[in-house]
């Protein structure tokens, strides 16, 4: 695979390969454990797993600088949170609804947030994070921070008016934002082509005179490079639309058996598994062998084990906390 240098500050080097592999594997192991914990009823409600899509969050977030850049996503947020460097412990604790969770047990799976890490959620309404992220980019532009915002949304979300309105304003106001459509091909049980007037989402940028790009969402290096390019463009006040073609291996959420698609379709994507592909490439470059991979796997599994233990041992939030985190002060809450 020809890996080109990019204009971005970061260049693909051996240590970057390893960190991409490590991030993707951490997400995979975290998600598998989350599924298990859901089965044990430690986690409830909607739990949307990111298995199969790891390359998108990992590759794109590796291409930005979270000291000044921001990440905003929807409810399928575990992967992005981990890619932004959030601690698996506070994420697992949030899934368990514990007070030690990143949102104090108020948000659960769909609402991970970490303002320090510049990860702004974790948003449950399809498409609604897109204008919000555009506003974050507005603030970056206004304050001249030099930062960009990456906003993620699905192939289903792209048909919301919120997406189209945002692109237009981002363009007329020169906002530093990269719109990343994670096209995992299914919006719940709906195949993306059935509900879309166009088959290449990146073309939708053209309606707003915004450059559109496409990345192979099963290839973390391709996502990394394309994002780096898009970020360079966005920093100069030109919003970009990047479509990453990917696939979710699991159902839409834990309660969806995904009967609407064929086993063949799923198996075909598993053959291009993003972790497997990077591992093979690294083997060819003598950057890893099976033994080193196993050791990495073991190390990450221990981290996730510790996260589960932390979540398990953490306290439930006290009942009075229902009145907290609503206003800066509590005056506006009605209580007799």
């Amino acid at each position: 695979m020809g890996v080109k240098k990019t204009n971005s500050a970061k260049v693909l080097n051996d240590s970057l390969y390893m960190s991409l592999l490590e991030k993707m594997l951490l997400i995979r192991i975290f998600e598998e454990r989350a599924a298990q914990m859901y089965g044990l009823r430690k986690i409830g409600g909607f739990c949307h797993l990111y298995i199969g899509e790891e390359a998108v969050a990992t590759g794109s977030i590796a291409a930005i600088d979270l000291k000044k850049d921001y990440v905003v996503t929807a409810y399928r947020d575990h992967g992005h949170a981990l890619a932004c460097g959030m601690d698996p412990k506070v994420l697992m604790a949030e899934l368990f609804g514990k007070i030690t969770g990143c949102s104090h047990g108020k948000g659960g799976s769909m609402h991970f947030f970490d303002t320090e890490k510049h990860f702004l959620g974790g948003n449950g309404i399809v498409g609604a994070q897109i204008p919000v992220a555009t506003g974050v980019a507005f603030s970056q532009h206004y304050k001249e921070t030099g930062g960009v915002t990456l906003v993620y949304f699905g192939d289903g979300a792209i048909h919301q008016g919120a997406f189209h309105e945002s692109l237009n304003m981002a363009k007329i106001w020169n906002l530093p934002i990269v719109y990343i459509c994670e096209n995992n091909q299914w919006g719940m049980g709906t195949f993306w082509k059935k509900v879309s007037a166009v088959e290449d989402f990146y073309k939708m940028g053209a309606a707003y005179d915004i450059p559109g790009m496409q990345a192979d969402g099963m290839d973390v290096l391709d996502v990394y490079e394309k994002t780096a390019k898009a970020v360079d463009i966005a920093k100069n006040g030109q919003p970009v639309l990047l479509e990453a073609r990917t696939y979710r291996y699991k159902g839409h959420s834990m309660s969806d058996p995904a009967k609407y698609r064929t086993r063949e379709e799923l198996e075909a994507y598993k053959k291009q598994d993003p972790i497997g592909r990077l591992k093979t490439l690294m083997e060819e470059k003598n950057l890893i062998d099976d033994k080193a991979f196993d050791a990495l796997h073991k190390k990450l599994k221990k981290i996730v084990d510790a996260a589960v233990e932390f979540a398990e041992k953490s306290e439930e939030p006290a009942i009075h906390t229902i009145y907290e985190d609503i206003y800066a002060d509590k005056e506006a809450i009605w209580q007799l």
């Binding site: 409600g45 309404i125 939030p317 229902i322 809450i333």
Partner: protein, 326 residues
């Protein structure tokens, strides 16, 4: 009588009305191939085809508005909202278009459309996905609002809503879809705007609608064990509101508690309490109490989310208050 689920009752209502009138069709996210996010539309695509059972993109404002336009031009759409939380995107269409067309056209235009889907708290979903928006709809002149709590009422009210010449918003609930109850084989309708007395009693009137009905009935049973005979009114419709039934009951019991899973400020409960206080002032032996969800967004943690909602304990406490039992 057959015992069927709330979900099946809705399905039968839609099926029967689609068979009866070819202008009736259903559109929404996942209503066709997936048989509905909560399986309410199961089997309808197979029976009626893609022309009348239409899968939409995730575009609530758009497809709700398209439904309204189709209604204006002679069809009778059923718009399924995956949940009311997502209908917030479509509120402009419902409030400014559906509810106002008859008025601003001086009566020329009618908008015979049903908007329906689950509303109210569910489980482990946090604040964007678990909230009652009943007040938002009830607030709007030009809309009708129904909120049945049994399969029998759900079927009869949905059929009436589909035949109604005005826009009707229907509030269902994720946790109610599997509730079962008796539904007759033969056709029947339940008029919009008629409350139902679910339990006769003489000591106190408990008024509610939608999902809390079960909790309220269970409290009434427990009160009976303590010698308190509660009357339970299921409003079924929020607009029009059946004040006749409410006032008649309160004139009999002289005490009322209104139970509502919406937030307290500007809620259906607070309006009903106001109406009783105003109309039955001289006959009341205690001030009217309301039991609502706490005035907070819904947390994910299960203990907390239960603490936020009306509970048997909170309702019995309110009953104790109006009976001066403290």
């Amino acid at each position: 009588m057959a015992v069927i689920s709330y979900r099946e009752a809705l399905n039968q209502a839609i099926d029967e009305e689609m068979a009866r009138d070819e202008n009736v069709f259903i559109l929404g996210e996942e209503v066709g191939e997936y048989n509905g996010a909560y399986k309410v539309s199961r089997g309808l695509l197979a029976k009626y085809g893609e022309k009348r059972v239409i899968d939409t993109p995730i575009a609530e404002l758009g497809f709700t508005g398209i439904g309204i336009g189709a209604a204006i031009a002679g069809l009778r759409p059923i718009v399924e909202w995956m949940t009311h939380n997502f209908a917030i995107l479509a509120m402009d269409q419902v409030i400014n278009n559906a509810a106002k067309m008859r008025h601003m056209s001086g009566g020329q235009i009618k908008v015979p459309i049903v908007f329906r889907g689950p509303n109210g708290p569910a489980e482990y979903l946090s604040s964007q996905h678990s909230q009652s928006l009943a007040a938002f709809w009830m607030h709007v002149p030009g809309l009708k609002v129904v909120a049945p709590a049994t399969p029998y009422d759900a079927k009869g009210l949905l059929k009436s809503a589909i035949r109604d010449d005005d826009p009707v918003v229907m509030l269902e609930a994720e946790l109610m879809y599997s509730w079962e109850g008796e539904v007759p084989e033969e056709e029947y309708l339940i008029p919009i705007g008629k409350a139902d007395i679910k339990r006769q009693g003489k000591d106190v009137t408990l008024i509610t609608y939608s999902k809390p009905l079960r909790t309220v009935l269970s409290v009434a049973d427990k009160l009976a064990e303590r010698g308190i005979d509660a009357e339970v009114i299921d409003l079924r419709s929020l607009r029009p509101l059946d004040t006749d039934t409410i006032f008649a009951s309160v004139r009999k019991t002289h005490r009322a508690v209104v139970v509502d899973e919406a937030w307290p400020m500007g809620s259906p409960a607070s309006f009903v309490a106001y109406a009783i206080s105003r109309e039955c002032f001289d006959e009341l032996d205690a001030q009217v109490e309301i039991v609502t969800s706490e005035d907070v967004p819904m947390p994910y943690n299960h203990r907390l989310e239960l603490a936020v909602q009306p509970s048997e304990e909170k309702i019995s406490d309110a009953v104790a208050k109006v009976l001066y039992m403290e």
